[in-house]
Symmetry: C2
Subunit: 566 residues, 2 copies
Amino acid sequence: MRLSQFHLHTSKETPADAEIASHRLMLRAGLIRKLAAGLYTWSPLGLRVLRRVEAVVREEMERAGAVELLMPSVQPRELWEETGRWEKFGGQLLKIQDRKESWYCYGPTHEEVITDFARAELASYRQLPVTFFQIQTKFRDEIRPRFGVMRAREFLMKDAYSFDIDDAGMAAQYQRMYDAYVRIFTRLQLEFRAVEADTGAIGGSASHEFHVLADSGEDAIAFSTATDYAANVELAQAAEPAARAAPSEDMRRVETPTQKTCDDVAALLGIPLARTVRTVAVMGAEGFTVVLMRGDHALNEIKLAKLPGLGDYRMATEAEIADHLGSEPGFLGPVAPARAIRVVADREVAAMADFVVGANVPGFHLAGVNWGRDLPEPDSVADLRNVAEGDRATDGGEIRIARGIEVGHVFQLGRRYAEAMGFTVLDEQGKAVVPAMGCYGIGVSRIVAAAIEQNHDEAGIIWPEPMAPWQVAVCVINPKQNPDVDEAAEALHRELRSAGLDVVLDDRGLRPGPMFADIELIGIPHRVVVSERGLAAGTFEYRARRGGDSENLDRGTLMTRLGIAD
Amino acid sequence: MRLSQFHLHTSKETPADAEIASHRLMLRAGLIRKLAAGLYTWSPLGLRVLRRVEAVVREEMERAGAVELLMPSVQPRELWEETGRWEKFGGQLLKIQDRKESWYCYGPTHEEVITDFARAELASYRQLPVTFFQIQTKFRDEIRPRFGVMRAREFLMKDAYSFDIDDAGMAAQYQRMYDAYVRIFTRLQLEFRAVEADTGAIGGSASHEFHVLADSGEDAIAFSTATDYAANVELAQAAEPAARAAPSEDMRRVETPTQKTCDDVAALLGIPLARTVRTVAVMGAEGFTVVLMRGDHALNEIKLAKLPGLGDYRMATEAEIADHLGSEPGFLGPVAPARAIRVVADREVAAMADFVVGANVPGFHLAGVNWGRDLPEPDSVADLRNVAEGDRATDGGEIRIARGIEVGHVFQLGRRYAEAMGFTVLDEQGKAVVPAMGCYGIGVSRIVAAAIEQNHDEAGIIWPEPMAPWQVAVCVINPKQNPDVDEAAEALHRELRSAGLDVVLDDRGLRPGPMFADIELIGIPHRVVVSERGLAAGTFEYRARRGGDSENLDRGTLMTRLGIAD
């Protein structure tokens, strides 16, 4: 490919509304151009990158036995009403009325359409298992589209759907897709984690998100130094606490006139924050409840809400607190409440001895408190906290917390859609059964942005090689002044191409400064300069985009450096 | 590819609402499935065919120097208002309101978006010429979607747009695209014609449609037996008529009491229809006009409307006819009208001598009429007729008329869009000039249907080889009863694959009848049967889908038949 016959449009200006590196660099490198809010044209350069990602995704889907099809982007309202999602999906669903005043939507996802297809074409267990996938433009009417293609309204997605006769089959296909996702992100040379995810309102049985690690990521994820374990911070669990020690202190009342937080109390008493206990008063279905957290731990509201009777909990009011504990916020505790209360303890608190807690008397805390002796054992014990950097992980490693960008999601849907849409197949006994489904998404266009977030420097993008628009740029210095230089560059271009490399010849005739700046900005992994001086010395100037100085290499060494056996 | 691991879903039923062969066969072969009016899912089998067409189109676009990009499918109203097409495009434009109540459309075409892209990225003549293309899903809200993907609402299209500094450049790129289209349809092995098309309301300077010839085609096209000349019947011209002969008869009045049509008059007088002249009375901007056509020729209203003063003509009323000619329909003629009239003659009529025409007296015609002698020469002479099968063509050949399916359109747009959207570039002199544009469309999904219209028989589809989902089907008879047969089939499958053929192994274990019926229905060009009997005899049963009986071939002959050098 000759760059003079391509359409490259880079810019030195940093776009004002681009908040993150990938958005800025995609605009500066000319990969995308904004058409309207959340709508982007992929330039020829950007499309080359997008297609590379798409090709890897397609290959691995096929390797995993998935079969590609293509569903319409416009979907009829009737199907969405069968699953109740026409209303429930919310404002992201772009609704469309056609000339006959029938309602449609621009598909944000295709569970309804694929289930409709499946109920028409799949009738017997003999046709299962099967996994369909497509790579297609989707639309979500984001209330605040931003970060370029990272959160665009129109975007390219790979969505796959599996159908199985039973749960075991669904789990097997889920695992196959999970493994395919690992291969995809590994092949794309991205640092990523498969993260246990909340199955949320859909209530499926298992779900993992795939995150590309990057400081600008919107999600915090916890992972272990020992194994591949990773989970959304909100779901992650640390290792069980050590067993509770025996009491070694007597309970005593300490004066804390203005110390209303664990931090202040620990400072006053000269003890570690980890020796204090915070009392959170809430109202749940079973009435007034206190939740006990170690002073240095953060309460995880998602975990709390999973406890019986606390699904719809709310904070208790000061009046309710006064009524049940006879005290006021800042000095609350589980010891000797005014009335009978329910006590829920984080498992770390349940394992504590000699701890400090509010005395239920304004201006006082209790120290040396011990379970069983000074108050009854808690009514319920559970993991209720957010993990923190440095916690011991369940696998024996240490927990690290990083930010991630969600680029993939695999989900065991179960029978929700098939049931709602009346889809059954005959099993081996000739009985109609509802198949179990999985769904598996990858944000193809988002991967491009995520890769840049993880791989860039001051000069621009540093593509992982499998995503680069070209692997090698051959830069010609003053092509018009010396035909030998031009010829040598063309010969090298041809040679690299026939060795199977994807090469671009920068024959635009720019001065070296702007030419090199462009090639760095657009992130080409390998740069080779052909100049009059090099030609005289029998060398080519080589530089890797990912670090390293430029070197003058003879032909053989250059070939070796580019991975070509001579 | 093993068919047991693919999703094939054929049907014996002929769908009731499918009016044409391609629609019927695409449904029966399971290439597509209807989701809603004009919306189709492409099954795995259908998508394989669609992708083959897409690949050929992409390769030829790139060979012609066009650069691929990808524009959003959703386009903002503001752009369409710049060109006035938000209103003018009509009901086919699917309008969409987003959650912020801004208006968009689902792009039926991308002139506005590409011109917006170009005005942002192209600033100098140095960046020209350039041709951008994309292969993308489009939407046209057809009032009556039908014929399956032939006239669907959502469809796959290749659209390309060229930008040039001047008309000569535009014409050169137009020619390059024209040539690329010829290569595309030639490679797809379709019988097609490039047809001169009307530039219509857009008023561009040149336009060709590419039609696949098929009896079910919606358009009639005229082409010559001598050269590649072809034109839409409405635009086609026959050769000039021979020079007018000298008068040989006197004008005389003949009684035609009930003979109101040329047919009846010719029959009564015992003369060829080609000796009669039909008089059509119209009202145009310049008033009452009679248009004269040879009795056996059809008036072409498009040609007529191109004459000065007849752009908005209408048929004259009986009152207007009585007023100007003093006669009534059935007996009209240009001789001795009641008042001065304008006479427009088709050039064939202008070349006639001794012809028959209405006498302007009810019950009478005039015979032996001659120009100049019996009436003045016509006020204007033009080609006003539809060509007919057997006419002499301008290139000396004979005109044939066939029906065609429009699958491509190339168009010299000129400066209409660039001007409306204020897009200029600097020319060599540093002056801002409006670039000249071309646009070039191919209906990728429609090609699939058109190919079937042209290539099918009672048993099903007969794919042109470059479009076939697989080139070869290896059918195994009773694979489970004899492991040797199974192994031999697998070995052949592997061997053909490594020779570069796209092969499917039908290992579904069907009986020969249904298995062969499926393979014929889905149109695989080459079928090879591996059976116990064949194995014993050392032969394979081979049959070409396009005609021919099945033959038992030894391995070497089979390879030769499949184009593989041993």
